[in-house]
Amino acid sequence: MYVATKGGESAIEATHELIAEERRGDTTVPELGTDQVRNQLGRAVDRVMTEGSLYDPDLASLAIKQAQGDMVEAIFLLRAFRTTLPRFGAAEPLDTSKMIIRRRISAAFKDIPGGQILGPTYDYTHRLLDFDLVKEGANATSAPEATATEQTMPRVTDILGAEGLMQAENREEIESEPFDLGRQPMSFPANRDQRLQNLFRGDEGFVLALGYATQRGYGRNHPFVGEIRMGFVEVEFTPPELGFTISIGEIEVTECQMINQFTGTKDIQPMFTRGYGLAFGQSERKTMAMALVDRALKASELGEDRDHPPQDEEFVLAHSDNVEAAGFVSHLKLPHYVDFQSELSLLRGLREDALTTQDKEAAE
């Protein structure tokens, strides 16, 4: 208070100027345009939109530029902007069975109606640094034109569902007004809509680690990738003043449906259960991890043991948000000298007491 933080006002102004200068960097290097971020750092944009829970590639690009590529900071910027926007209502549920597909794979079946479509993926690249990319303009290759498939592509889980092998989703939950994590506080026990919204916004690293843990035995749930599909879906909305549904645009999403074994209990028949993952843009890793964790969190409704962190909804859902987590961790940088002073006095007191007791005992 008297030394380190004195003159806070001018110090704060100075640091703002300093980060602005750092952000721009060497002025002999051309400035990064947000259009460049949007076009050339698309996966970063997708992650910021997903965890920032706002589908706006331009604003996400701006956030990434402003945050100097610090993803959690960019996500925070987008969230803080999102919260100021008016809310018109909830869209109709996205119908991903009508997706205009760019990529679609199933690991459960060799062939599926509509076929497997590899699309853009890093999966089969060799992770060798491509030094050609250092040179500008060296990468102007054009990919073979994709043939737009008019073929219907039913979702693999729906095919299994038609046979009664897949656990059906709760209709009541689907038809009720959805929970809105941006407006309502999280509450426990959480419904599925709360859980999925939370995991959607949840930190990719955190969700990935939890999903990974389930594979290593901490809440194992025998997953198969039923289907991953990526592409564009229409967003439909029913304005109350119109009374009928209109399309308000198209967004790019990735969806992952995991099929998980369930051996049944005395009340529930054996069947496959679903782990569901969805994210904006091309976010395959996130959706897979999300699907694993979603399934792990079904433990209580399926009557499974809940022995591991990924199955514990308060543990998972209360700690997944990186804006909350980063904020609370970073607040340790704020002064705590009042509390520390209290602890210091206590410790000195306790040590003094201990010494006096020792002296007394020695004298006796």
Binding site: M1, V3, G8, V323, S342
Partner: protein
């Protein structure tokens, strides 16, 4: 009310940042919190342009109740010139254009982190606390589903056992800050991490006390003139901290002091944590043992920083 009242100073955001719907939602939450003293009311906390953990709960309350005629004081660790207090004060000057002050007596609204001002507050004032962890039982039971039940049934045995164990192991209750209180003979409440030195000030305080936890999305309150009891036992009554020495700058006794390390040889002095209280006393001619050499060393805070 004219339309100017609804816009921030630079016109980019609504007056006091939050939209009116959100403010209404928070005000409804506040009314409920005041009606059930010490009970944590969940609210739809918003993302603020400051980080969670940096006062977003207090900021949302302040934003919801501040009016154009209010005079705002913001303190952190008792001081007005700590960086985060400066930052929050700047925020409200920008988005609400209100008067700000460092003088406790001139403020109508005081937002605080970790302290209650030394000067007795009045019925005309509101004290808004920033709260990192609203649940007093969280160290004993991390699950919200459980703690909600414990509060509902007034089942506070866990807490008493914890305090008892402190006494049996250390001879005293070793909680020095965030020391739990019982409000209105009903709810156990976290006073936010104020030192237990400040706990007695909460009881029967003429000012309204509001508590905002942004990250945890909880609001709670203590209405004016409410009973607040720091938990204790008949044979181990609550003891607030005491300091052996007065403030080295203004000579005040019975105030909370910060330890300031003066050199690397172990020399230190104790000074008022409440910087405005210290300033006022020095202005009135009170001096402490090191007032003069502390000034020479540049340890006396500058006045009227902003």
């Amino acid at each position: 009310m004219n339309s100017r009242a609804y816009h921030s100073v630079d016109g980019t955001y609504n007056f006091a940042y939050l939209d009116e719907q959100t403010k209404r939602m928070i005000r409804r939450t506040l009314l409920k919190a005041i009606a059930v003293p010490g009970y944590q009311v969940p609210f739809g906390g918003r993302e603020m342009p400051m980080a969670y953990g940096w006062g977003t709960g207090g900021i949302q309350i302040t934003a919801s109740i501040i009016g154009r005629d209010d005079t705002l004081k913001v303190i952190d660790q008792g001081a007005d010139d700590t960086t985060n207090a400066v930052s929050i004060r700047r925020f409200f000057r920008r988005v609400a254009g209100v008067q700000t002050t460092e003088e406790t007596s001139k403020a109508t609204l005081i937002q605080t982190r970790h302290r209650i001002p030394e000067k007795q507050l009045t019925e005309k004032q509101i004290l808004v606390y920033q709260v990192p962890q609203p649940e007093p039982l969280w160290k004993l039971e991390p699950r919200e589903v459980e703690t909600r039940k414990l509060h509902a049934y007034s089942e506070y045995g866990l807490m008493h056992v914890k305090l008892y164990e402190d006494i049996s192991r250390h001879g005293e209750i070793i909680t020095t800050y965030d020391y739990p209180v019982e409000v209105n003979a009903r709810h156990i409440m976290s006073p936010s991490p104020i030192p237990k030195f400040d706990n007695p000030k909460m009881a029967m305080m003429p000012a309204l006390q509001l508590f905002g936890a942004g990250r945890e999305k909880r609001i709670y309150a203590i209405p004016p003139y409410t009973r607040v009891r720091s938990l204790d036992f008949d044979d181990h009554p609550f003891k607030p901290q005491r300091f052996d020495k007065p403030c080295a700058l203004c000579g005040a006794e019975e105030v909370f002091l910060d330890e300031v390390i003066l050199d690397d040889k172990g020399d230190h002095m104790f000074v008022c944590s409440d910087s405005d209280h210290c300033r006022e006393r020095r202005a009135a001619g009170h001096t402490g043992s090191r007032a003069s050499d502390a000034a020479d060393m540049g340890f006396v805070p500058t006045e009227g920083l902003n």
